[in-house]
Amino acid sequence: MARPIPGRSPRGRAAEAAARSTRGWAGWLFVLPALAFYVVFVLRPIALTAQYSLYEWDGIGPSTWVGLANYGRVFTDPELFDSLVNAVKLIVFFSAIPVVLGLAIAATIRRIAASRLALVARTVIFLPQVIPLVAAGIAWSWLLSSTGVVNQFLTLLGLGRVTRAWLGDFATALPAVGMIGAWVLLGLCTLLLLAGMSKIDVALYEAARLDGAGAWREFVSITVPSLRQEIAVCVTVTVIAALASFDIIYISTQGGPGNATMVPGLQIYYLAFSERQIGMASALAMVLMLLVIACALPIQWFTKDGNR
């Protein structure tokens, strides 16, 4: 961007300002189509949601102004608050497992990069990303059913006593749903990290080896620090996927049994379309949006620091 240079004549400065403003308007003109879409399909819905969240409204009839009462209920109604807690618990499965496991797998694949096995492994691990989440949900609810493959396998191993309907059991439903998410997101993380690893200068590894570093030392001292940005992207994407999860849970458990897998995305849907409490649904949606931002922003700052 042009900067005013000290010592220039006032006339020149004025001309420059005029030129800058024309340029500015032309720039806005180019942005306009995209901006219009952004305003109509992103900002307007957010503004409307914020407005609705201050009313009690069934979506059709007259509405009543209730101020911040809906927000009060989000934090005091145990059912609504528990759904937020469940979303936070899901971060472990949607985020921690894919990133940690993804790092390990990517490092392993990198070591065997030349072999055909690496190609096969990459394809197999990325495959879940290509499958629609709804299909993944259906497939996994079969695998995890009481007569499904998972239980057949456990019985084969002589673990018949631990078999159960994984998605129908209060203790295991949330972890089971979390595992489906981990399975889906592992491929994305692995691929991202693998791409990041290919950018690391090979000389660094050679130098480390000359200094007598083993595979673990290389991984900790070179690979992981160099991947800081990729890891941040993985964590951001997966944390958002955990907090805003809907499809996998809607397909596999619908929030059951007994609200054990209820998450804010599903709760918003039920509030809006089955209980017809548009105001409450909007308030929960606003809280969810702020929660997502509150989780994603620190991760962004963390990468920026690494950039310096």
Binding site: V42, R44, T253, G258, R276, I278
Partner: protein, 453 residues
């Protein structure tokens, strides 16, 4: 340092301001539909579809072929009428109903729970049609569930806002082969008899009851309501469903019913994974012969006659005391006309035709599997006695005699099923909820939802 393009602060502010401007300024719902000026206007002559070409807009439920079959037959008899039919899953219809009725009004629509739609003035008041066609002379219980007071509360009395295409009947289906194995030759006459059969099945290694209770659909509400009707009268349960003032589900006889259900759960009469079983899985298990009993409705009669011919039986839930009155969940397959429909008269004529035309009534039984609406002496097609459809139709007559027809406890409010009965029943299966607390909790949710409306 890399050049950074940084949008100016004023630009960002402008964008946000535009977004806020684009949002509606007034309070939401300020242009909501108003009530009809003259409700229940009397009609000079019975409405009809005339002779000029006319196209009816209809919105039906996927998977229930009876409605479409009726429209086809109707067009055969009245060639000037053509149909523009849209179909969706019932869950989708439930979510869309208010907006569709308001923005894109169909002439005829399959309806979910109606009280909230009436409250928002979305449905046509049918009193005028009822008078003109003589629907008010039919057995009153058929239309009771579709009558509503002003503002949609209470249900069960007041003006007529919807009609049925037929009315369903629920009870207990049983597998005849497995029944023979445990020496059950005739349907149990008392609740104790049913308990006995359940215990015998369990001892013989047969799953006593296949039921669904997974996801957002707590199918244990079926046996629970049947047990409620065994222990107590149907009237107070209906009052609760109809949102009559002061009605409660937390009564001593309902507590006995919930405790009885808990005993069944603890005795292992349901499959171990019942909390993960959805409706389709239950059906395939029952058809596959994996269980003796199943609590369900006659909308499956035709299906069972086809899938396991001669092997399925049906009986009404037996009363607690021998000779006691019987009751069953029985509800019309509800259809309504949008308050803004263009061809309301023709749609009403169609609904009357469905209940009175000979061919239409046969389609209602053959394809729908349920009893047609209409006058008590209306035409009934012959059904072979060994078909389960014959048993379900006969059960309908018994219920009419005992005046034991109830709506489903899941229909009390729009959200009571998914948000209250289902999670509470799932908790009871897992041993995390007691019968006392279950009823208390459901009543609390009910009060909150009804008052919120």
């Amino acid at each position: 340092m890399a050049r950074r393009v940084r949008p100016s602060r004023s630009g960002a502010a402008l964008v946000i301001a535009m977004g806020l401007l684009a949002a509606a300024c007034g309070a939401p719902g300020s242009n909501s539909p108003q009530p009809e000026a003259s409700t229940a206007s009397s009609l000079s002559a019975a409405p009809a579809c005339g002779t000029a070409p006319i196209t009816l807009n209809a919105y039906f439920e996927t998977g229930f072929p009876v409605a479409k079959a009726l429209t086809t037959e109707f067009t055969k008899q009245h060639p000037n009428v053509t149909w523009n039919i849209r179909e969706d899953q019932f869950a989708v219809i439930t979510q869309n109903a208010p907006r569709v009725l308001a923005d894109n009004p169909p002439d005829l629509m399959r309806l979910p729970q109606v009280s909230e739609l009436v409250k928002d003035n979305l449905l046509k008041n049918m009193d005028g049609y009822a008078k003109a066609f003589g629907w008010d002379k039919w057995p009153a219980s058929q239309l009771e569930q579709l009558r509503m007071g002003p503002g949609g509360r209470p249900r069960g009395e007041g003006s007529l806002y919807a009609m049925g295409i037929n009315f369903s009947m629920t009870g207990v289906f049983y597998n005849k082969k497995l029944a023979e194995k445990i020496g059950l030759s005739s349907p149990p006459a008392t609740l104790a008899g049913l308990d006995d059969a359940l215990a015998k099945a369990k001892d013989a290694g047969i799953t006593p009851i296949v039921q669904f209770n997974g996801g957002a659909t707590g199918g244990l509400a079926f046996p629970l309501q049947n047990l409620m009707a065994s222990y107590g009268p149907a009237g107070p349960i209906n009052d609760w469903i109809f949102q009559k003032p002061g009605a409660t589900i937390d009564t001593p006889s309902n507590l006995q019913a919930a405790q009885h259900l808990e005993r069944w759960i603890k005795a292992g009469y349901f499959q171990k994974d019942v909390n993960a079983v959805d409706y389709a899985t239950m059906m395939s298990r029952f058809i596959d012969g994996q269980g003796l009993f199943m609590f369900d409705g006659d909308w499956e009669s035709g299906n069972l006659d086809k899938q396991m011919p001669g092997e399925a039986g049906f009986f009404l839930m037996p009363p607690a005391q021998a000779g006691g009155k019987r009751a069953a969940m029985s509800a019309p397959l509800t259809f309504g006309v949008s308050a803004r429909a263009k061809n309301a008269d023709c749609a009403a004529f169609f609904l009357d035709w469905v209940a009175t035309d000979r061919q239409a009534r046969e389609i209602g039984v053959d394809i729908g599997g349920s009893h047609p609406m209409g006058p008590a002496d209306g035409h009934m097609p012959e059904i072979a006695a060994d078909k389960v459809t014959a048993s379900t139709l006969a059960a309908g007559a018994d219920i009419a005699k005992d005046n034991g027809s109830m709506d489903f406890i899941a229909n009390a409010t729009g959200a009571i099923y998914a948000k209250s009965w289902t999670p509470q029943l799932q908790k009871m299966v897992a041993g995390q909820q007691t019968p006392q607390e279950l009823l208390k909790q459901v009543q609390a949710d009910y009060t909150r939802q009804v008052e919120g409306n």
